[in-house]
């Protein structure tokens, strides 16, 4: 099957800065693909390479099997939803959505009908007459989405599209985006620095750091079997365990990771396990997060609400299942 987007040893350097460095990547057609990473990790540059706003310094990019280098953005069958929406302030919502069709020379009646359809798709029917300045952030987001979808792109690029929305709205938009993607069957490439967002929405996630891809895989895989210390730490703040510690408890001299929710905290000091001392507690509602000191190593554990929470400074005993301690590929 031809990949929707393929990178072959693609690099984009800005002078001495390697924004994207020899990246290999294949995105399958119809996939919801997330690019996750801290700011400056190269994920947005990757998106701009796909959109055609940047050209690779070396390597190649193909979109549905066609070479993309030198092809202008509008001939690539892709469209972008920008971080700050980039709606045209002087046009009303309907003309904003119909803009792509207007440029193509589609007649007024036809393009307005198509724009109305797109607005219905994003649940903003009847908003056509308003100006972008009169809409809320969430509504502008939807208009930007409708404008990107009206040209029926094969790949839709989303650059931190939910970054400017408040938590509640972000959660409902996440669900909606996911449903929309399923219904349309378009390949979505989604850039975010929010690991929760990436894990909950994407079919596959690529974790970026320093212009390189650290790991690509399904959300469960990324979360439960991080390949490196960076991925373990960045995705879900896992406890990264040094080789010495792992050797003592799992018998192998490798870096390991252990999820905070997989650590059981026992208040019975005589029990079997690892002795630890509680440094601080953070109440999160559904659980309490504990910062623990284990032989000079700082670990986090979560205690579900309803169970007894140890006091600050209290000595506790930690236990976990051996098979939940994940050994990372990265060498010690």
């Amino acid at each position: 099957m031809t990949p929707a987007v393929a990178f072959q040893k693609t690099s984009r350097h800005f002078g001495a800065v390697r924004a994207v460095d020899a990246v290999d990547l294949e995105i399958k057609p119809g996939e919801f693909f997330a690019m996750l990473g801290p700011s400056g990790s190269g994920k947005t540059t990757c998106l701009r390479l796909i959109a055609g706003f940047e050209q690779p310094t070396s390597g190649s990019i193909s979109i549905f099997g066609e070479r993309a280098e030198g092809v202008p953005p509008y001939r690539r069958n892709v469209n972008t939803v920008f971080q700050d929406y980039a709606l045209f302030p002087h046009l009303n919502v309907l003309d904003n959505v119909a803009y792509g069709l207007m440029v193509k020379g589609v007649g007024k009646d036809e393009r307005h009908r198509a724009a109305e359809d797109a607005l219905r798709l994003v649940q903003l029917p009847g908003y056509g007459g308003r100006k972008p300045g009169q809409l809320s952030g969430g509504q502008r987001q939807r208009v930007a989405l409708a404008r990107a979808l009206v040209n029926k792109p094969k790949v839709l690029l989303l650059d931190e599209p939910l970054g400017a929305l408040d938590l509640k709205l972000r959660e409902s938009m996440q669900e909606e985006l996911k449903q929309l993607q399923k219904a349309l069957g378009i390949t979505f490439v989604f850039v975010t620095h929010d690991q929760g967002e990436a894990l909950s929405m994407a079919d596959r996630v690529a974790v970026f750091n320093d212009g390189r891809i650290m790991q690509v895989g399904a959300p469960e895989e990324i979360y439960q079997r991080p390949a490196s210390r960076f991925v373990a730490d960045f995705v879900g703040s896992s406890n990264v365990l040094p080789p010495d510690f792992v050797q003592r408890h799992a018998g192998q001299r490798r870096w390991g990771s252990l999820r905070p929710e997989q650590i059981r905290v026992g208040r019975d000091k005589s029990g079997d396990g690892v002795a630890a001392r509680v440094l601080s507690r953070h109440y999160l509602g559904a659980a309490t997060k504990l910062a623990l000191d284990v032989e000079g190593l700082r670990l986090h554990a979560t205690v579900p609400s309803g169970t007894a929470v140890p006091e600050d400074g209290e000595h506790v005993v930690l236990s976990f299942n051996r098979d939940q301690l994940h050994l990372m590929e990265e060498q010690a």
Binding site: P72, Y74, F88, P89, H90, G100, G133
Partner: protein, 263 residues
Amino acid sequence: MKTGRFWAWLVFGLGTAYFFIPLIATFEFSLRMRRGEYSFDAYRVVLGDSRFQETFAYSVTVAVFTILLGVLLVVPTAYWIRLRMPHLRPVVEFITLLPLVIPAIVIVFGYIRMYGSNSPLPFLGSARGTDALLVIGYATLALPYMYRAVDTGLRTIDVRTLTEAAQILGAGWTTIIARVILPNVLIAVLSGAFLTFAIVIGEFTLASLLNRPAFGPYLQNIGANRAYEPAALAVIAFAITWGCMSVIQILARFAPKSANRPN
């Protein structure tokens, strides 16, 4: 505290008097054409003069062409500088300021030497050619105001993202400038246009030395030969300029709020 306010008001009063007394005196004088009573006779004579109508119409036409040329020159330049060559901005800003430093008389002597009828570019060989040269010269004189106005307008919109959004939707450069950028800086362009208009209407040096029938030289001619009419003309010219300024003020109030920064 009290004395500070007193001095502030005194300075303000002096400034106002310095500015308004000549204006009021001119206006009062312009009403005294008929002996022993105030009348608008001077204005009637001036406005009824066919040379006034001709020169004013000529200057308005030249102003319109100057504005067109200025917009065509400045909007794409300022846009491109903001989008692709921000490092060149200080250079371009300096160039646009040059007309304030170089007197118009220097420019016009340069023109006369460069574009005489036996030069390779004989602009001055025909009346139309001289008109064209006048428009070009005025566009240069208005450059500092036009560029600054447009550049300020561009600052209020996110030029890069809007360009990319239009690009990915299939718009070419002409479409982007004419249908995305220009409508969003229209208010700024209009204030630049009115400043240009005010400059062109009152300009004397270029028009006089290039020997074109413009409003400025007519004003000077009347001033040298009549008594009451020049005062009336000065008041009219003042009214036009002030009219332009108030239009700018009113337009600024209608400036569109950017979608990205609604407040």
